[in-house]
Subunit: 298 residues, 2 copies
Amino acid sequence: MAELRSLEIFYWTASLCSFRKAAERMNTSQPAVSQRIAALEQEFGVTLFERRARSVVLTAKGRDLLTFAERFLRLRTEMMQAVAGPGSVRGVLRLGVSETIVHTWLMRFIARMNEAYPGVAVDIAVDISPNMRDALLNRDLDLAFLVGPITMPSLVNLPLCSVSLAWIAAPHLDLGPGEVSLARLLSHPLITYPKNTNPYVSLREMLAQSNLPPPRLHSNASLSTIVRMAREGIGIGVIPPEVVRQDLEAGSLRIIAPAPALPDISFTATYASAPDCGLAATAARLAAEVAASPEWRQ
Amino acid sequence: MAELRSLEIFYWTASLCSFRKAAERMNTSQPAVSQRIAALEQEFGVTLFERRARSVVLTAKGRDLLTFAERFLRLRTEMMQAVAGPGSVRGVLRLGVSETIVHTWLMRFIARMNEAYPGVAVDIAVDISPNMRDALLNRDLDLAFLVGPITMPSLVNLPLCSVSLAWIAAPHLDLGPGEVSLARLLSHPLITYPKNTNPYVSLREMLAQSNLPPPRLHSNASLSTIVRMAREGIGIGVIPPEVVRQDLEAGSLRIIAPAPALPDISFTATYASAPDCGLAATAARLAAEVAASPEWRQ
DNA sequence: AGAGGTTACGGGCAGCGTAAGGATC
DNA sequence: GATCCTTACGCTGCCCGTAACCTCT
């Protein structure tokens, strides 16, 4: 009588306004969703959805039930966190990560996650923050480590860490003596994050305000490639020094300083405040802990 | 993952401290209970019960889960009342009833119940109030209409109705002219409710205070029999006139008045405030409505 | 020996997936 | 015709009940 799984399927059907999408989300077939919704409707003796041509919409009774379904799912999440041992948490966490995080403390996070929650599989998708924002809203991601916060009522943001941007170049790159002016930096190509990203826009604005001739500005979706290009002297990388810590130590890259300052970039762990966000919230707290630890900065 | 039925079985197992009793309560076999508890323990990765020789007791984690199980069941109850149409409410209501109620408005209540909740079967047990109090506490009854209220934290009382007690006799019974004194009443046997009941005790006290010789006091568990005995002139019934309304109208019985006053008896609908008390609460409200209607008093 | 919980085993049925059907744009 | 939900159908697997077993008093 009113199984929890039926309510969960109902919740996703109502949220996505589609039996098909709910089926995908729940990893089942669309007729199975039809059947469970029909069973709920029969059990309560009410119609939950108006079946319209291109989508389904909740009836009044359906909206009533939705609030209860959400309460049930939240209660289940709370129960799991309260009584289940961490080892018995199972599931998949679809995690979106900024590449900057990949190159700093992601591995530490994954290691901590694996030891604390061995039953959880983490699906990692590396992307730029704006795409991940959309993916979070579409529920294609459970959690993202991105440039934030994203101020929206449906999203929860936990501060993670802040990194600086610096001008990074190969040791042999010729920049002349003394303080390095912006004009002199621009004698080399600049290499940074893709368009639409926070660092790219920051850099672009700084350059625009300088009234200097348009620079050669390469954007690259692969941070590794940016690093490699800088190492080979193709240009100056505009990236956080934290991601090239080893290169700096080994002397294969150097920070150009003193030089014009660039703004910091702050990261957040961001997830949808959905009724089933238990794993995401837990992982976000763990990430905040890892990111706050100074170890990964050396 | 954490089915509602499992939580319900867990709830009863914890409440009754016994797998066996929980199985009886849930209308299933004892191994089925074992299996579901074992499944819960495996799912959460914790031990819920300490299996002791003669009974089982909750562990700390088990107590944690119990609060969640109760919240789940209450939420389900609330959901059913909010979204389910009355016609789709199914189940059995184990109802205990004072015989006085049987002879006044119980039939109206049953009729209203059947039309409002055709899917509900009502199991009626007629008994005296003290027994029903115990049955409520043992969870052998879901709801009782009894002489109340019973002030206990685990019980909910709704006021139903109040009836008077009167001296009822056959028309031809000789009591002499004018006002009827207690002494003259006692020239006949008195017939009333069984020992341990409120009317019996009230009557006994009144007689004790009068310093009159001990009366012939017949107690009878069957109100119908009391009525019949009064009608046949065997004695004077000390019962509410409401239960013999038709006899009074037909003239086959009469109220002896003026005569010493007896205290009123008030009834309540009483049920355990358990997580699954939805049907009991609903029925109690319906009963209060029926009892408040003046129709059954004529 | 008896009460109460666990383990073993066989059968029934709920629920799933595949596939075909129907409605609406 | 494309999309989306419904219906039909065969199958798997869960869950239940019976029965035998174990343990503690």
